[in-house]
């Protein structure tokens, strides 16, 4: 099989999986879901590491390092902020009526 076709197959199947897995999300979770998906595309860090590690020009190295910083911010910040949001959903018990939260 042509290699291009293999890539196309992966792409098309991923599109359907992507839509299918989130099709039942309630609007309550739209914000954390968007934020979590946002963090997942931070995996471009992998691409940034690959191109930066195989370059030998100084300019390209600098550009690559900038890309690594940006991608890391996207990935790490994204997952941490999503976790912070979701932490609040999992708290089960209502707080005492007059708590220390004043």
């Amino acid at each position: 099989m042509d290699e291009g076709i293999v890539w196309l197959t992966i792409f098309v199947l991923s599109v359907f999986v992507g839509i299918e897995v989130i099709s039942k999300v309630s609007s309550t979770l739209h914000t954390p879901l968007m934020s979590g998906a946002n963090a997942i595309h931070g995996v471009i860090l992998l691409g940034a590491v690959l191109v930066t590690g195989t370059t030998d020009s100084t300019l390209a190295l600098v550009v690559g390092l900038v890309a690594i910083v940006l991608a890391t911010v996207n990935m790490v910040g994204g997952f941490v902020v999503t976790d912070r949001m979701l932490q609040m959903f999992t708290r089960k018990k209502p707080a005492p009526r007059k708590g220390a939260d004043v």
Binding site: G4, I10, F11, S14, V15, V17, I19, V21, S23, V25, S27, H30, T31, P32, L33, M34, S35, G36, A37, N38, A39, I40, H41, V43, I44, L45, L46, G47, A48, V49, L50, T52, G53, T54, T55, D56, S57, A60, V63, V66, A67, I68, V69, L70, T72, V73, M75, V76, G77, G78, F79, V81, T82, D83, L86, M88, F89, P94, G99, D101
Partner: protein, 458 residues
Amino acid sequence: MPTWVQLVYLLCAVGFILALKGLSGPRTARAGNLIGAAAAVVACALPFFYVEGLDHIPLILLAIVVGTVGGVFGARKVQMTQMPQMVALFNGVGGGAAALVALLELEHMVDGVTPGFDLAATAFTIVVGSISFSGSLITFAKLQELMTSRPVVFPGLPVVFGALVLGALALSVLVVTDASVPLGVVLCLVGLAFGVLLVLPVGGADVPIVISLLNAFTGLTVAAGGYILANTVLLVGGTLVGASGTFLTLLMARAMGRSVANILFGALKGGSTLGAGEASDRPVKSAGPEDIAILLAYASRVIIVPGYGLAVAQAQHTLRELVDLLIARGAKVDYAIHPVAGRMPGHMNVLLAEAQVPYEQLVEMDDINGEFKHTDVVLVVGANDVVNPAAKTTPGAPIYGMPILNADEAEQIVFMKRSMRPGFAGIENELLFDPKTTLLFGDAKDSLGKLLKAVETL
């Protein structure tokens, strides 16, 4: 690439699928996010173990440390009210990174014989990554109120816009026929300009939809990057985000009763997302906290409509105390959550969860809309557009068609407002002038504190 590496990449791709699946259910969401994080970390660590002759490792690790510190700092410091712009910012830098990676790959392609399809994917990544970067920065500026949140349009904008589209296409074709880095840089600049012009005409209330759309864009650029680098985990991860992000954008737009095309280009077609944006001087009925306290204290059914203003005033905790008190006095009290309450879908749930409001008291719009006619008092705190009847009655209004909470059907409506300034959508709310409506002016936290005291003495 060794087989074991490919298998680990496959596991990471499955991890991303499980992450999205988990994130779409309330009980599994946190675990889903952690699975996604683990998969991403493993995927990004792999090159250090299998790529032969990977150079500059100390510098790369340093850059990762810098990014991690920045990301964690931003994510921990951000207030929950500012969450949407934080997501926008994280998304933008991701898009920027993808564009830079593609530019660097273009440099590699210049020397060798590269198939046209690789070059097309590279051009796509450069353009769309740049759009995502600059577009996200503008959405950040709008939500952070570094610039006006109103739509910005100028004469000739559609022409400039069209010229940029044609320019981007022509440049992309050039890049495909003749790979050259300077051309790639120009393409990048065109993309940046395009992103700015794409978001400028979008009104503040619609900006969150655009964040979601740009998020999907970045996903697709990462997928294209995966194709260029022949890396499955980038391709699958990027495509998943691109597809689910697009679907989520449509879901959000539907919750607001708008089409995505209308949100993006409405202002271009003649200012349909423009509002009056001015306070009117028509007479309204206002009252002090003591009077409102009596209304609330003797009501048996109360519905609270919380809005972004509540969160800005940091009054969620005081509101919860008031609600707890009313419940203790025997009233039935719920919070009516509009799908887009806050700044984006689900934002209000996060904000109230932070104030430890029990999940069961948050009722979604469709489940509570029938209840308003049997309700004694509706207390609207810092919300406006989500109860604006103009969404049903005024076809020209920017929010026309958006489903709203039927607060107008209640016996009494109490608005807590700082001023007569219109809501985020910039249009006047007829409900404020309704004879059933009473206004309580002042800072939400301050007023709620006074209400709480007054109810306690009754």
